[in-house]
Symmetry: C2
Subunit: 291 residues, 2 copies
């Protein structure tokens, strides 16, 4: 499929892509660019690449596909670092879970030199280590590809082909639509869960004793409050404007609930709950994003 | 343990208590008081009582333990109905998931004639039918007993003994403390989940398409939004003042999050998430309330 794939960042996602490409022979050569000397051995031990290197510019010089698999704040600085070294007309993609800011920055940095395609494979977890890398995380999950007006059609097809070869089904939406959707179904639920737990903390002298009253409903509703604070800070800030709008819409909905609740009318309250139950039950939620 | 236990309302909880008492021989006689003629056969078919009857006053006349297992709004009217018929000095208890309003009303209605003990066995589901009644729902779960200053000590012990015989571990807190705790760990998470789903509905022309982006985090966080609207309307209204306070505290916490988010400072956001993660992970949440 590719002559040389270079993966920048060999954590859970980068490592899993590397192992998958090696196993399925998706490139003549797979190179992993890493930041720490010790990571080189980890990559080789997992057979996640043919070569691992600290020299990111050298790693991209002859690649026809470069995949950014680093935390969102690291993407733009690394893109600038390699912008002069990267092969002309090569394809550049990423795995970030927020897309507008990442795709816009990459398009601005690489200009017409290479072809940027944003992607969000909805798989993984808050753990980021290559130690748990496994291409099985992609199987039967969805990868969102986020083309813009500038995106090269052939590049979209080749990136889609990679993710399909790794076992994912591919969907296409604009970066903005992607960010609005994940703000609603992923980022907002995380904010709500973190806020639920902090409300309990603030409302009680002994929050542990209060949580002793909890059942499975509480456990499920707040499971994601144990997610990585660093990862979620990064995601929230990368999707700041969109997520702020969504959190404010949630606050508005809550305010309207409180108003109805204060009036205490059975049928009005029941209608609000029934509306939510109907949409929840009608949605089949087919994908399996762990982030 | 008891001479005659009368259970008023033979749904999931009443039925499960009845079957458990029959199986373990916890009373010489178990009577189920039901509202519908057809329910008599259902009770007998499940061996959930020795007798089932529509005559609630007759059913309580010789009982030494009367258990209300009906929806919260039905408790006070039924208590008034039986107040003159019930045996003097008998013990009256219930299974309602909100306690202050129920215990206060029962104490007022029965006065010194019998001994009221509030109880909340944390087991069950939003389904209420005797068809799925099974005393196994009590095993290894917690029953909260909520004594007041007026509660008779011997009556507390006998009610505790019943729940322990059915396999539950018993904890004691005041009705007010119970209602504050369940408002925080059960009622508020339900309100938050219903509100999350309604926010998605209001924020999109095609909410189903948005939910297509959802993963397991969303599924878990909003599972309880599929709960019974009728049951949750009943619970919210029965715990109205306490829950309103808790929902407003949540709103306040959300407002403070939005302020911090707007400033966009990495370390402040990270501190909020880390605080929630720490409490979530430190809590062992031992009980298993399905409501």
């Amino acid at each position: 499929m590719f002559d040389q794939i270079t993966i920048i960042g060999m954590g859970l996602l980068g490592g899993s892509i590397g192992i998958g490409c090696m196993q399925k022979g998706l490139a003549r050569k797979v190179i992993g660019a890493v930041r720490r000397e010790s990571a080189i051995d980890e990559v080789m031990a997992k057979t996640a690449a043919h070569e691992a290197t600290l020299d990111i510019c050298e790693a991209v010089r002859t690649a026809d596909l470069v995949i950014f698999a680093v935390p969102i704040p690291a993407i733009a600085p690394l893109a600038k670092t390699i912008a002069a070294a990267i092969a002309a007309n090569s394809i550049v993609t990423d795995v970030a879970s927020v897309k507008s800011c990442v795709v816009n920055r990459m398009e601005a940095i690489f200009g017409k030199r290479c072809r940027v395609v944003g992607a969000h494979p909805m798989a993984g977890s808050e753990k980021r280590s290559i130690a748990i890398a496994d291409p099985a995380i992609f199987l039967n999950n969805v990868c969102i590809i986020t083309p813009t007006e500038k995106t090269d059609k052939e590049a979209i097809n080749r990136v889609s082909g990679l993710w399909e070869a790794l076992g994912m089904s591919v969907k296409y939406v604009s970066p903005e639509q992607h960010d609005q959707c994940v703000a609603l179904v992923s980022h907002l639920p995380h904010v709500a869960a973190f806020t639920l737990i902090n409300t309990i903390k603030r409302s009680s002298h002994n929050p542990h004793q209060v949580i002793d009253f909890a059942g499975p409903g509480f456990r499920d509703a707040t499971r994601i409050a144990a997610s990585s604070p660093e990862l979620w800070t990064e995601i929230c800030l990368a999707n700041k404007e969109t997520l702020l709008g969504v959190v404010k819409a949630y606050q508005q909905e809550l305010k309207s609930f409180i108003k109805t609740f204060e009036k205490g009318k059975t049928d009005e309250l029941c209608r609000i709950f029934a509306e939510a139950k109907a949409l929840k039950e009608a949605s089949n939620e087919p994908s399996k994003d762990k982030v």
